[in-house]
Amino acid sequence: MLHTLVILVEDLPGVLNRVASLFRRRTFNIESLTVGHTDVDGISRMTVTVEGDDHHIDRLTHYLYKLVNIIQIEDLTYKQVVKRDLALIKVSTVSDKRSEIFQMVEVFRARIIDVTNQSVIVEITGDIEKIDGFVEVLKPLGIIEMVRTGSVAMERGPDSLFHAENGYQELTQSMN
């Protein structure tokens, strides 16, 4: 099944390469991966969706922890989460379907963020299924180009994902 992992990493050059290299050499397939900064200096956050049963994902988590720059990994698969994807879709408006496009944008609560006399760019956020659905209805209307971000996810409720001992509080390591 599809798992959603959140990985907190040190914001250093090459960390993405280390993570991607690990997925490849341990033969895991990344469905989607997003990276961005967090509110904490020096810590980036990756959201990875990856296919595998629980045992596989357990292995993957252990392998990931072996990477020195990885701070924390959380599997959000079985938690109450909000999960969002963002898509920009450029649609042709030269045909007679112009009003139909505007209607669909309305129905899906998407937004038009660029207009020319031949095209519009539509922005939509939502879960994967919603965006998939929107793309399906736009296809016959003439998609020129599309880009999707891949999922980002966050647990519902008041708690922070960060474990105090993992990131906010700097660990002091003594030489042996």
Binding site: V9, E10, P13, G14, N17, R18, S21, R25, G42, I43, H55, D58, R59, H62, Y63, Y65, K66, L67, V68, N69, I70, I71, N166, G167, E170, L171, T172, Q173, S174, M175, N176
Partner: protein, 571 residues
């Protein structure tokens, strides 16, 4: 004090207690070499190939228990290390590799001798660093040594741009303060409750077996192992890297498990009701077919690396942490038991199969590798360090050279790297200069790094080399014999005259063709001041037995065809 980046490299090595480095100079690491003369406490060994430097640092680390260091220049110098880095990685050996990189302004422009070493070595290092700023050299090296030796040890590569080596810091001082690594927590501890669960399984087990691996040596848990073994009368099977965890002649040390392990050991594994895996990782070479592996046994796995638990074999209890600490906690809780039925049963299995041993073959004029190696064991002391190359001779060495003390046995287990033997022996000699050091190599593997004979001669140190010369890439030939209809494709190998090769290096060479000459040759090698190469011309088509074919059930062993075989050819 004013220091260049290159000087800081040496300053850091001195602070880490480094006494010897193995390396090779070139354009990009010239500043490091230029600064070397200011640090005479560190001896530099010029190798003949960077792979040699890597294996030497590896052999040094395995025998000394310290972190080994190898240095190479950018591009081809650095890529020549790769086999050695991967070898150290697979066997969890702490080595810091210092490579030079082209100047930071040139990185990414395909500069002369530019190779992306941090990219190349991500999968084969525990961690690596690219340093382009002189101020980052010290932090990177401090972290590199710490990472290499802590937790599950492993190789760390530090790639330092040439301009960072050349840059100066006016008021440089070594930073002794503790440092911060947010993502690195090597010291895990198991929950007390799982310790008690493990003890419960042990105390209720009638047929327990300890599987002892390299981790015991790494964690220095030999004494704890001995006490647990004796207290509970729990027999010990060892992995090839575990040789030395318990004296070979200890009544509870059964010997090696796995593909070429002893038959009674593999059978005992299959019959056990409890496996206690200590610092080993259930490699496919020791388990055979996983579906039929020790199906009747509960399993307890203790390892410092959580990713090893449940990786190959699903276990009932996994304890993550330092073995010495965990065994220390188990120790007082393990009940004294005699388990005489179980140990008697194993002794019986052992008695049954040892009559097939080639050792019982009378001298029929043939020279068998097993005899050579067994004689080498008989005529050397328990303080002797043995390193091996890879192939049949390695397996015979594991079977017939009995190791009684820790850190006396060095072999490439995980990667099986031909060419490892001679350079690792040179490294071992630097780790323990007063010990007798031998390497046992095949004619094929010896030639992969035989250029290091010249290093040996230049350094003027003594390492004896036993070449088990069968005229074949023997282990591959054996597989061809067993599984490919004796189609000996690309395995017959013609070698130079090894006696003359030794001579060309100013070393003594001895040729042995008869069993009756073996002892005299070993004695002569021991009595000679410099290094000696002995060319043992052994039976060409002998095979290693028993053998669990790749993927077969562990109890399903190919046995030596008849007790008193002449050659396997006529079987």
């Amino acid at each position: 004090m004013k220091r260049s980046g290159a000087q800081i490299v040496w300053e850091c090595l001195v602070r880490e207690g480094v006494e010897v480095v193995f390396g090779y100079p070139g354009g990009a690491n010239l500043p490091i070499y230029d600064a070397m003369r200011g640090y005479p406490s560190i001896h530099h060994v010029l190798t003949r190939h960077e792979q040699g430097a890597a294996h030497m640092a590896d052999g040094y680390a395995r025998v000394s228990g310290k972190v080994g260091v190898a240095i190479a220049t950018s591009g081809p110098g650095a890529t020549n290390l790769v086999t050695g880095i991967a070898t150290a990685h697979m066997d969890s050996v702490p080595v810091v590799f210092i490579t030079a990189q082209v100047s930071s302004k040139l990185i990414g422009y395909d500069a002369f001798q530019e190779t992306d070493m941090t990219g190349i070595t991500i999968p084969i290092t525990k961690h690596n660093f690219l340093v382009t700023d002189v101020y980052e050299i010290m932090p990177a090296l401090r972290e590199a040594f710490y990472i290499a030796r802590s937790g599950r040890p492993g190789p760390v590569l530090v790639d330092i741009a040439k301009d960072a080596q050349q840059a100066l810091i006016d008021n440089w001082e070594y930073d002794h303060s503790p440092f911060k690594m947010r993502g690195y927590r090597p010291n895990m501890r198991p929950a007390p409750s799982s310790i008690h669960d493990a003890v419960d399984l042990i105390n209720h087990s009638k047929r327990p077996l300890i599987l002892a691996g390299h981790g015991i040596l790494m964690s220095n848990a030999m004494e704890e192992l001995r006490v647990i073994t004796e207290k509970g009368n729990i027999p010990v099977a060892i992995t090839i890297l575990g040789k030395g965890v318990l004296p070979a002649n200890h009544r509870l040390n059964l010997g090696m498990m796995g593909m070429h392990g002893e038959a009674w050991v593999n059978n005992a594994i299959q019959e056990a009701d409890l496996l206690l895996a200590f610092g080993m990782r259930f490699d496919d070479r020791v388990t055979g077919n996983l579906n039929t592996y020790a199906v009747n046994a509960k399993k307890v796995h203790i390892d410092i690396d959580p990713s090893e638990i449940n990786k190959n074999v699903k276990v009932d209890i996994g304890l993550v942490g330092d073995l010495k600490e965990i065994l220390g906690q188990l120790l007082p809780l393990v009940e004294t038991q005699n388990r005489v039925d179980w140990t008697d049963h194993i002794a019986e299995m052992k008695g049954n199969v040892s009559v097939r041993d080639i050792q019982n073959l009378p001298d029929n004029g043939h020279l068998y590798a097993a005899h050579v190696i067994n004689d080498l064991w008989r005529f050397t002391s328990t303080d002797t360090v043995i390193t091996t190359d890879v192939g049949q001779h390695q397996m015979w060495a594991a079977q017939y050279y009995h190791i009684d003390k820790p850190h006396k046995w060095v072999t490439s287990g995980g990667l099986g790297t031909m060419g490892f033997g001679l350079p690792s022996a040179i490294g071992a000699k630097f780790a323990t200069p007063m010990s007798e050091v031998w390497t046992i190599a095949g004619d094929g593997g010896f030639q992969m790094t035989a250029a290091e004979l010249s290093t040996l001669a230049q350094e003027g140190i003594k390492v004896n080399i036993a070449v088990i010369n069968n005229g074949f890439l023997g282990m591959v030939r054996q597989w061809q014999e067993f599984f490919y209809d004796k189609n000996y494709a690309a395995t017959p190998m013609k070698s130079p005259d090894f006696v003359k090769l030794a001579d060309a290096h100013g070393l003594k060479g001895i040729r042995v063709t008869q069993r009756s000459q073996v002892e005299a040759a070993i004695r002569e090698a021991q009595a000679t001041e410099g290094s000696v190469v002995i060319d043992f011309k052994v039976e060409q088509e002998d095979s290693v037995y028993p053998m669990v074919a790749s993927g077969s059930d562990l109890q399903d062993m190919i046995r030596r065809p008849r007790v008193l075989v002449e050659t396997p050819k006529d079987s």
